[in-house]
Each structure stands twice: as C-alpha cells, then as structure tokens.
Chain length 345, copies 2
DNA sequence: GAATGGTATGCAACCGGTTGCATGTCAAGC
DNA sequence: GCTTGACATGCAACCGGTTGCATACCATTC
C-alpha cells in the first residue's frame, strides 16, 4: 500500500533504502546492519566499515520512527510557549533549541496563544512522540499538568507547582533594586502596571513591588494593562499620569515601551518628569529613551529547563528541583530624579 | 527491555495501554480496535461505541509512532528558520503553526543560526519523521535543497529556486513606493543600507532601490550593515552622514532602528534633517520616531507556505508554484521633507 | 430451502528497526 | 588433538499499530 502510493501517485522516487536492502547488498543479516549503526563496538572493525560504506553508497539512513517504536526512545522533546510573538520567548526558544541540539534531540514547538484548551490539545498531540516536555508560562491548570507529568518527564518555566521540576525566573531581587533605585532618585509615589492575574511572574513582581515599597515608605498604586502589550501599556498612560505618581514599574518591557509612547503623546517627558522601569530586558537599548529594566535572563531559562529535562530523562533525578534564576537591575536612560513638587505639572 | 526500564528504573507507571489490551478487554480483535479509531465507518455503530468506551476507561490513546511506521504518515512537518530571535520570524512561525494546527499536524522547529552546516544537520534529523519541510531564508546551497526536495515535499520562503515550490515576499513594489515617497519629499541623494549578500531579499531590495532611483534620477550609494542587526545599523550612521545623503532605506527594520539610534547619537534629527525607511514592518510603531517602512506581511508567508506544503502532501500539485506576496509602504514619522541645501549641516 | 450478496469481523503479514539468545569460528591452553 | 572460552554474527521475536483478504453471518430473492 505504502510502496504503491509512493511509486505510483507521485514521482517522488523515495529511494530510501531499508535495513534489509543494506543487509542483502552487503551480505550480512539485518541485525548486523543495525548494530553497525547503533552498537558498532559489538562488531569487527572491518564489518562496520564495509556495512557503512555500502549503506552510504545506497544512501541509507536509519529510520527514526522504526527505531523509536522498538526502543521507546524517539529523540524528540516538546516546548510549548504561551506566545511565540512575545519578545520574551524567542531568546528562550533559541537557547532551548541549542541545548537540545547538543544532545541530538529534535524539538517540537507549540504555541498555546494563551489558551488552556489549545495547550491541552498540543500536549496531547506531542506526548506520544516525545521523551519529555517543557512548558513555558503554562496556562494549564495544576491538575492537568500533574497528570501529564506522570506520563513523561516534564519541566515548567515560570510556574510553581510543588513536586514538579521547574525553573523560575525570580525577578524579586531585580524589582527590589528598581524600587531602591527609584527611592534614591526621590520618587515617593509609584505605579505598578500589572499583567495577567494568572501569571506567576506577575504575582512575583507585584508582591516584590509592594514589599519593597512598604519597607521604604513609598506609596504604590496598581494599574492594569491586560493583556500585556504595547497597546495596553500606551492606554494606561492617562490613568497613571492622572493618579499623580512620578514613576512606574511595568509588568514587562513591552508594556513599559507602550507606556513611554503614551506618556510622549501626553507631553510628559521621560525621564525628566516621569521615570519608567521595564521587566525582562528583551528590548535592549532599542527603546527611546533606552529603558531601565529588570533583566530576567530568559535565555538561561530555556537552557536550564532543557538541561533539567535531559537529566530527568536519563536516569531521572530523584527529588524535585526548584531552580531559581535570579535577576538584576539594568539602569539605562528612562529613569531620573523625581521632579520637584512645585515645578511639576 | 523497554517494559523493564519503564517499570523498573523510574516509578513512572507508564500505564499506556496498547491496542492488544483494549482488544482483549473488549473481546474483539486488534484489527477491530484499530478500525474503531481510524475507520469507524467500517464497523457497527454498537461495536465502535463499546470499543471506544472501554478504550476510554483504560486510557488508551493510539500510538502515533507505531501508526506512522505502518502508514508512513507521521502527521509532522518541520519549519527551519535562520534566526528565531530576529523579529521577522516569530510572526511567521506563529502563522505557520496555526495553519499546521488546523490540519492536525505537529511542527518541529529548527534554528539554523545562519549556518548552512547546522541547517543541513537539522534537515537530516527531521526528514525521517516529517511529511514535509518548510525552509525559511535557507542558507543551504541549491544542490542540497534540490536533493532534499526529492525526498519530501518542500517549500521555500524567500529563496528562489526554479522547480521548487516557493513563496517570495516581493518587496520591490514597496521599496519602489518608498523611493517615490522620498523623491516627492525632495530627497536627491539616498543610501541603501544593505544586508547579507547571499540573501534573496537583500538582492531584491537592492535592485529595486537602484532601478527606481535611476528612473527618478536620484543618486544612491550602498553602505553595508553585516550581519544585519541593531548594532551594525547604528555603526553605519557615521559613514552615512559623512556621505552627504539625506535619506536612507535599510535592509530591515532592525537595521533602520539602529541607524536612527546612531543618528541620534550624532545629533542628527529624524525626520527633520534625515529620513529613514525600514523594511519588514515588524516593529510597528514602537520605534522612536515611529518608522516608515515597507510592510512585508511576514505572517502571511508562514501561512501560505504551510498551505502549499499541505496541498503538495495531499495528492501533490503537479507543476511548480512560485507564490509572490506583495508589499506596500507604511508611512509613519521617520520620513520628512529633505532639508534645504543651504540650511543643512 | 438453497443460492446470492452484502457486511461486520478476524487472521496474519507487514512497516523498519532492536535485541536476547543460540550458534559458529578461531586461537589459546592442556 | 581436543577442550575451552571469547567473540562475531545470525535467528527470530518483538515494538504497536494498519490493512488485504478470507470467512462467517444474516437477510433477500427465486
């Protein structure tokens, strides 16, 4: 059936020789050919050389799918993110890929687009053909995640579920540094422009802002920007300016960038009359003015997550792992001294 | 072996029942169970219901890998891009995913990092377990690509090889409009900030600039920014200003953004004393000032490419397809009237 | 009541590898 | 010269599905 359709319907010659053909051509058994590729140390050097030579001539490549069926090892992992287009993810994806590559693994990418149902569907499609999963900023509920974790090694990024290996980007230190920085510049009233309520990162950041502000006697109000994006950030500007604060910390860089655009539209100069701090450090110096931000090392998260997945796949670490990545403040040009009360608008 | 390691080494119960267990539990043959899932119309409605019910109770899910082995259809496709972190790609990836998803396909993502050898390696890993490939901005040489195309349906994005289905983002019309726009604003000398010499898009753009400039009697010089990035764009500013041109078209938005930063550092105001045009329209209004750019509809490219791949996979289109996506100019705030000669710096 | 035909199900081979165990070969040791 | 054992290779079962063909069953029809 398969053969027929191959040679019939399309002209694709599909001259992918099988192990049997190589075996016949080199006068050995299929087992020997198999071993020449997967366990050459079991064979004479001469045999290996001869088989490989003939295989090469025929253009033979071991069939991954067949191998996976008999060994149970497919050499694939899956990475599911909540939004490929959010600049936070590409560096993470890139780093994860790189790490997987070094281990000879192929990576499936899934994009849940912030939708739990979609994410569940993707997991279902992937789980049968991967040896492990990484879920970044998963929107799935805990129960589902736990269930998947019993089927396959699974690592979470920025999601804190007890008993499941996870890597968390701990932005609290960076956020605390940002508050300290603003306090030193003389700001007394600040705003936190918040992201998705279900987001672990948002909770982290919101709490860190509160805690640190309280410690230093600053007043902080919260203004939502949901879903977090350039546009919602821009729209938040009016409300923020009206509230009388002199500085804002945004849930992420995109929101911060939008906020700066909104401020510019209202003729509020940054950093002269207002200071802005972002989170993630994914835009570098490309904003205007260059954004002071909390660096979250998102690339490292991808790398570490795949690393943990690998060790879980081979031999399996016994205990759970809760890997924290820390953060620091990068001071650029979007923050400055608080405007003096009298001269302010 | 597999069973042992599953139940032994780790505690992962791996209670994934096989078709045989479902067959035994429901008192039918394996063939019947198989058909209940893949060809239910062959069976009595009652049988299908009964089998599915028991399968559901046992938690049975058909094993993709085994299915792929016997049918040759794995339900996977691969997408290889030259740089995930370049903002041109995420929207493309997202759109490609979406389209693949609708067809029930899983997508492998590969990141060549602009390296042909790496790209070749990735193709090799993927090709055995996918039904088709999409190569975006491939850096592979023609011969390799042709060889892969004989093995599997393959679609190229922004690479023009005769006989192979490809989708090309034709930026020529947009670039021509940009030149016209600059000419109308009174610019007579302009620069093209060029990208990778091996890039099809760069050749397109360079030629379009030349052709249109000649038609309108503008003078154009070329200044390289390689590899194309924010930084190389920024560095190009000095040379560009020194050359005396009053406007520049950059290979892509990132380079344009860098160029604007470089100009700002030299105290050259955009658009008052210098105009800048980007390419791709991937940054939206987020630059300062908002960038006039040639919109390349990169998301559409991903969508169309997967669409073509699908039709090639099912039944196969006979002739080759060369799908052109066109472009248009988006005028924002980075372009303005040419500074008058006398008053210029 | 036997021939006919349509249909639901089972049998068994197959997809392309891997691997436990059996076998054959050859050199060393007595 | 025969036993012993190490080692290279082959045999055949297995991974978990799919599918061509055979068969058994049932309802028509003459």
């Amino acid at each position: 059936m398969k053969r027929d359709s191959d040679s019939g319907g399309k002209e694709r010659p599909s001259v992918v020789p099988t192990i049997s053909q190589v075996a016949k051509a080199s006068g050995v058994s299929r087992a020997t050919v198999s071993r020449a590729f997967s366990r050459p140390e079991m064979l004479t050097e001469a045999t290996v050389r001869r088989v490989k030579e003939i295989a090469g001539k025929l253009g033979y490549v071991p069939n991954q799918v067949a191998r996976a069926l008999s060994t149970g090892r497919h050499g694939n992992v899956a990475l599911i993110v909540s939004d490929v287009a959010n600049p936070f993810f590409p560096p993470l994806i890139r780093a994860a890929q790189l790490r997987a590559d070094q281990a000879g693994l192929c990576v499936f990418l899934g994009n849940s687009d912030e939708d739990p149902a979609r994410e569940e569907l993707l997991v279902g499609r992937f789980i049968g053909q991967v040896e492990g999963l990484v879920l970044a900023s998963s929107r799935l509920d805990e129960e589902h995640i736990r269930r998947h974790a019993t089927r396959r090694p699974l690592v979470l990024i920025n999601r804190d579920i007890e008993g499941i290996t996870r890597v968390l980007i701990d932005t609290a230190p960076g956020v605390a540094a940002a508050i300290a920085h603003l306090a030193e510049l003389g700001h007394r009233h600040i705003a936190y422009v918040s992201g998705p309520t279900t987001s672990w990162s948002n909770q982290q950041r919101r709490n860190a802002v509160r805690r640190e502000a309280e410690k230093r006697g600053l007043k902080v109000i919260a203004v939502p920007a949901r879903p977090p994006s350039y546009d919602t950030g821009r729209l938040a500007a009016t409300q923020i300016v009206a509230s009388g604060v002199t500085a804002a910390i945004a849930f992420d860089d995109l929101v911060a960038q939008g906020l700066m655009a909104g401020l510019a539209a209202l003729d509020v100069e940054v950093p002269k009359s207002f200071s802005v701090v972002g989170c993630d450090d994914v835009l570098g110096e490309t904003t205007y003015p260059p954004l002071t931000t909390v660096s979250a090392r998102c690339a490292d998260a991808g790398d570490v997550a795949v690393g943990l997945l690998l060790s879980q796949m081979n031999g399996g670490v016994s205990g759970e792992i809760r890997h924290k990545l820390n953060s620091h403040l990068v001071i650029r040009a979007s923050t400055g001294p608080a405007p003096s009360r009298r001269r302010g608008r």
